[in-house]
């Protein structure tokens, strides 16, 4: 059985969970077994509807302690469910929660972990999973031989697929230890698309000259329902918040579309964004290294091009 960890925030199933559910179902098919889900804590949405991603059964452990994320408590409970249900593969999203829990579960169950997987395993001869290494500059094929195997899937690396189907939601009675961490506040930037979940990212660099010029970047992002990002010097100069810094030493992202405005395309920047499916570069310097990594480009002044692009996008979207 393939057990998929369904990640929830404030009662809502995260988008990353739809990816791992689809992935888990495909993997189960490949291994001629079934895929089942596990969800911890209360959820406001209808869990049985997640069956459309291909899982037949979802174990839910409902206990107040689990409404707050604690990697230690979560690991304990996931291990109980995995052992009771005979899970052979456990799938997580390599998102913030997955990065905290998957390694713990790996250590607890002595189960080999591949974090940041980018595709289904090759099971023709063993069990080999492809993952990103060197911040997206290369990949590695990792072989797992442990009895239980853990995969944490890179966000946006696997396409969500919906079919028809509904999952049976099974309450699971687990021993829930008390939590040693106490969450005292959750601060969300409201109305914004989380960077790691975004399908489109609009990013800008030092070419914008100063924080007061970000209006045109934000307008473009709004028109595209995109998340905002920036280069490292921009975050270091406090023009933009740290959580927008992408690159080798910032957040690594892999959106479908990445639009880079006034960013030179230094190797450390590229390392965090080069897995984007389509890259658009707007830069006034035709020699900017970013053009080598781009699919589409405009050599021009951002202050002229970006507002025009926003209008063009509004027009084409409105016309559809």
């Amino acid at each position: 059985m393939v057990l998929v960890f369904i990640d929830v925030a404030e009662g809502h199933v995260k988008k990353a969970s739809f990816e791992v559910l689809t992935y888990g179902a495909k993997l189960a098919e490949q291994l001629s077994t079934t895929a089942e889900g596990i969800v911890l804590g209360s959820v406001t949405e209808d869990l049985s509807a997640l069956g459309k991603y291909g899982v037949k059964k979802i174990y839910q452990v409902n206990n107040e302690t689990l409404d707050h994320f604690d990697s230690q408590v979560y690991t304990n409970v996931i291990a109980q469910v995995a052992q009771a249900t005979g899970a052979r593969v456990i799938v997580f999203s390599n998102n913030v929660d997955g990065k905290a829990v998957a390694p713990r579960v790996s250590a607890r169950l002595k189960a080999g972990l591949v974090s940041g997987a980018v595709g289904l395993p090759d099971t023709s001869n063993g069990f080999v999973v492809k993952k990103n290494v060197f911040s997206g500059k290369a990949f590695a094929n990792i072989s797992l031989t442990t009895e239980i195997k853990i995969i944490s899937l890179s966000p946006n690396a696997y396409k969500i697929e919906e079919t028809v189907g509904s999952a049976e939601v099974v309450p699971f009675n687990a021993n829930v230890p008390s939590s040693k961490t106490k969450v005292t506040a959750v601060n969300k930037v409201s109305g914004e698309v989380p960077l790691t979940e975004a399908e489109i990212v609009v990013s800008a660099g030092r070419g914008m000259k100063g924080p007061e010029n970000w209006g045109i970047v934000e307008d473009l992002a709004h028109a595209l329902h995109a998340a905002l990002a920036c280069s490292r010097p921009v975050a270091d100069a406090h023009w933009r918040p740290h959580n927008e810094h992408v690159g080798q030493t910032g957040i690594a992202i892999a959106p479908n579309l990445y639009i880079a405005i006034g960013i030179s395309g230094a190797i450390q920047h590229l390392a965090g964004v080069n897995r984007s499916k389509v890259i658009v570069v707007i830069n006034k310097d035709p020699e900017a290294p970013f053009f080598k990594a781009a699919d589409y480009g405009i050599v021009g002044d951002a202050f002229e091009v970006v507002p025009k692009l926003t209008e063009a996008i509004k027009k084409i979207r409105g016309a559809a």
């Binding site: 072989s143 969450v183 990594a293 589409y296």
Partner: protein
């Protein structure tokens, strides 16, 4: 207060990534090694700041690696820290490394263990979590702020679209991301002092290796950029819609 800071080495961020031995080994020829930026810029500096605030704090650095890491360890010691421990073994895989560090933590009775968010070469972001589980300790990952009052830590951690603030009693394992501290440059005094700081070498404990790298590869090269004239922005919108099917 005893803090253990986990230090790893990675190729310089501009290093050319290539592989040898039939794509099974990283080609280290001509590669400059650096301290993993997350370890150097954030976790180590935060530990040093805690010591600056309370001089009784002891900072040890640990690395699991062979003798070739020693220059990197000395560089870390030049920033700060009282002594370093090197576990004399190849770093095999995350679980193996975590098991080695767990043994050090148990022996040294540390109150706080810092790791970096991830190594920029292997990108595992796994060792902190594994270590916490082996030690049966709480783990706060992707910390962007870390404060200490007595034995209570207040930590902000990254979540999708924001941050979460939590409180936890020591001992705890924390992985550090940007925000926890600001990068520092070692000064001459630090560099001189580092030469005489103890660097202990210990032998590894027996531990399992759970994963094996079978091969490496490079992503396919881009086909080349399609340029659109700056006075023809509508064309870019059209291409993004009709050709790339992105908007």
């Amino acid at each position: 207060m005893k803090i253990l800071v986990c230090i790893s080495k990675t190729p310089d961020t501009t290093a050319k990534i290539a592989f040898t031995s039939n794509n099974t080994k990283f080609d280290a020829a001509g590669v400059q090694w650096i301290i993993n930026p997350y370890d150097e810029w954030y976790s180590l500096v935060r530990a040093i700041e805690l010591k600056e605030a309370d001089a009784s704090t002891i900072i040890h650095l640990v690395n699991v690696g062979l003798a070739d890491v020693e220059p990197i360890i000395r560089k870390a010691l030049a920033l700060g820290g009282d002594e370093a421990i090197r576990v004399n073994t190849d770093s095999h895989d995350s679980f193996y490394v975590a098991s080695q560090i767990a043994a050090i933590v148990k022996q040294g009775a540390y109150d706080l263990v810092f790791t970096g968010k991830e190594t920029i070469d292997y990108n595992g972001s796994a060792i902190g979590g594994m270590l916490a589980e082996l030690l049966e300790l709480p783990y706060i990952s992707l910390a962007t702020k870390f404060d200490l009052a007595g034995s209570k830590a207040t930590v902000s951690r990254e979540i999708e679209g924001g941050e979460e603030i939590c409180e936890v009693e020591l001992p705890v394992v924390v992985s550090c991301a940007k925000g926890v501290a600001e990068q520092r440059i070692p000064n001459m005094r630090g560099i001189m002092a580092a030469r005489t700081k103890p660097l202990k070498v210990v032998e590894p404990v027996a531990a399992d290796v759970l994963t094996n790298v079978q091969s490496f590869g490079l992503p396919p090269a881009k086909a080349g950029v399609k340029l659109v004239a700056p006075d023809n922005v509508d064309e870019l919108a059209r291409l993004l819609r009709e050709e790339a099917k992105m908007i």
